[in-house]
């Protein structure tokens, strides 16, 4: 025998593994022998051997499927199951979303419904959750693309399932949404739009203007920003340097507990039912000081750089005893007027001269459209007038308000006017918080007209 390790008796009997180098398998069992002889099995689970007559390779098994009408689909399918729908003559595959046609574009989603999610959402960054149902016709969707209306940035939101969360929505704005389904086989038509839902958020940050009020307090005028779609319930104001955080629901607010001689700025945030706004930018710096009785302060001034019907001062600080308005202006060819937040009603009297003609008009009714008449007769572009108006006890809530005015209209030659006017502005229980010096719509104030507001302190 060439090989003493081989013994033949009534057939082949291998007592020890025959090495591959000697033409054997190197294995001791039939199973191990098969594994060692087969092509690489890694990654070929559940496949079968296939041969073309020359070479042997792994091939996918033939897929088993059932067939029948839509009503006869398997009752308890698992993802990946196949079904040949004899109603449509199309293969279907089951996914977690249901049975869908294979290799067909998906159908349009249905039942698109948006739910606002405004709690703690920043102003103009609203959020909605948009739920929908995948279309039952067509192929299996692999993703859904949602488009809000009006447009957002980004303009679309994509997800593999419902719901889709949409962000970046403008506060207090109504939105509808449409959804399309997509798959490698195409994109569905758009769904019907959802019902309109308003995006609500926290409010916009307010803005502040601080005015010295006393040795230890300042008056803070708060200008509200947009509500975010839910009513503002209050403001929290903080000083810098820090003292206390004080809250209010109205403006102006008197911030107390400050140190005389220390410069302060203030910030605030607004709140609504959905949360707090961003913090405002800092107010102007103010320093509570010992204010001498009778001091005279400039509050605000406006000079026109183009013709304008009126100049208005609003949110007038309430920390003074009296107000003084000093104005100059041309009103083309009509009267200038004074009006306040108390309205345009009331009585007026005047002592005035127009050239040498004397006018003593007691209890004449001022103009009900534009307010208290500051002058009578045309003023004109080329002969502007001026005046000083004292408004006494303007912040009182127990006294009627009166304005007393000295006025003059110089003119080269005739038509010079001068006089003293007295206006009963009325409304004892309401403070004056805004006032306007104005022409009329047809005859506005000319460029260069200036109105300045001053406060006069009192004990």
């Amino acid at each position: 025998m060439a090989n003493k390790d081989f013994k033949v008796k009534n057939g082949l009997d291998v007592s020890t593994p025959i090495p591959v180098s000697m033409g054997g398998t190197g294995q001791t069992s039939t199973a191990n022998t098969l594994n060692s002889l087969l092509p690489s099995q890694s990654g070929n689970s559940n496949k079968v051997l296939s041969t073309d007559g020359t070479n042997t390779t792994w091939a996918a098994q033939a897929v088993a499927y059932q067939r029948g009408g839509t009503a006869s689909r398997p009752a308890s399918p698992t993802a990946g199951d196949l079904y040949y729908n004899t109603d449509t003559n199309i293969f279907e595959q089951y996914t977690s979303l249901g049975w869908f046609a294979i290799a067909v574009a998906p159908g349009a989603p249905t039942g698109v419904t948006a739910t606002n999610q405004g709690t703690s959402r920043a102003f103009n960054n609203g959020q909605m959750s948009v739920a929908f149902t995948a279309g039952t016709s067509g192929g299996a969707p692999t993703s859904f693309i949602l488009t809000p209306n009006p447009a957002t940035s980004p303009t679309t939101f994509t997800s593999g399932s419902s719901p889709i969360v949409v962000t970046g929505l403008s506060s207090s704005t109504q939105y509808t949404h449409t959804v399309v389904s997509t798959s490698p086989y195409g994109t569905s038509a758009a769904s019907s739009a959802s019902s309109a839902v308003t995006a609500t958020t926290v409010p916009q940050a307010p803005s502040l203007v601080a005015t010295t009020l006393s040795e230890t307090s300042v008056s803070i005028a708060i200008t509200a920003g947009s509500t975010g779609g839910s009513a503002i319930t209050g403001y929290s104001i903080t000083s810098n340097p820090a003292t206390t955080t004080q809250t209010t629901s109205s403006s102006p607010y008197t911030f107390t507990g400050l140190t005389t001689g220390t410069a302060y700025t203030f910030t605030a945030y607004a709140s609504n039912a959905l949360g707090d706004s961003a913090t405002s930018t800092a107010s102007n710096s103010v320093t509570p000081v010992v204010i001498p009785v009778g001091s005279f302060e400039s509050i605000a001034s406006q000079r026109l750089t183009s013709p304008q019907q009126s100049i208005t001062f609003s949110s007038i600080p309430q920390g003074f005893k009296h107000l003084q308005v000093r104005w100059v202006g041309g009103f083309y060819d009509n009267y200038p007027y004074l009006t306040t937040n108390l309205g345009n009603t009331g009585k007026a009297s005047r002592i005035a001269y127009y050239n040498d003609t004397f006018y003593n008009n007691a209890n004449y009714i001022q103009d009900s459209t534009y307010g208290a008449e500051l002058f009578f007769g045309g003023v004109g572009n080329n002969n502007p007038a001026g005046g000083i108006i004292d408004i006494l006890d303007y912040s009182s809530t127990t006294k009627a308000k009166y304005a007393k005015s000295q006025i003059v209209r110089p003119y080269s030659g005739a038509y010079t006017m001068t006089g003293i006017f007295n206006f009963e502005l009325g409304y004892a229980t309401t403070a004056i918080t805004s006032l306007t010096v104005q022409g009329t719509a047809a005859y506005p104030m000319v460029t260069g007209s200036t109105v300045s507001l001053y406060g006069i302190k009192g004990a």
């Binding site: 004397f358 001026g386 003059v408 005739a414 010079t416 300045s452």
Partner: protein
């Protein structure tokens, strides 16, 4: 609205005991309005006049109203008669120059009150100039000052 202190004294004359005029010149343009306060207790002085920028060529118009209600209109005259008394000397008064530093509108409104023991005098008028007022002159008719003080205030705007 930001409030700021204003109403500042710009210049004050010494007590004038001679001469017939006093001029505030090189007036600061940092303000919007001016207020001239006058304290004049000069025997037999019954009239005060005002000019601005040295102008004396029909640049002024005004109306005076005295305590009796009598008014006098003057157009295109050489000065504004600010104070008047019937027989006694003038005492105090103030007069406002509105928009004195403005250079857009074609006139400068001027008005005020002056009081004496026998008259109260209101004047309203103006100087027909577009340029800014840089000087103010107060002068008498003929008698010299014997005890007069003038103070000029500036009113700034926010």
């Amino acid at each position: 609205m930001a409030a700021g202190l204003t109403y500042e004294a710009i210049a004050t004359s010494s007590t004038l005991t001679s001469g017939t005029s006093y001029t505030f010149s090189s007036i600061s343009q940092s303000y919007t309005d001016l207020v001239l306060a006058c304290s004049v207790a000069t025997a037999s002085l019954t009239e005060l006049y005002i000019r601005v920028n040295g102008l004396s060529s029909g640049n002024y118009s005004y109306i005076t109203i005295d305590a009796s209600g009598t008014a006098s209109h003057q157009g295109n005259v050489n000065s504004i008669k600010f104070g008047s008394a019937t027989s006694s000397s003038l005492s105090t008064g103030n007069i406002s120059f509105l928009n004195y530093s403005g250079t857009t509108l074609p006139n400068k409104p001027i008005m005020g009150l002056c009081g004496s023991s026998d008259n109260t005098h209101h004047v309203g008028g103006g100087a027909h100039i577009t340029s800014a007022i840089t000087s103010i002159t107060i002068f008498t008719g003929s008698p010299s000052f014997t005890d007069a003080t003038f103070t000029l205030y500036g009113i700034a705007r926010a």
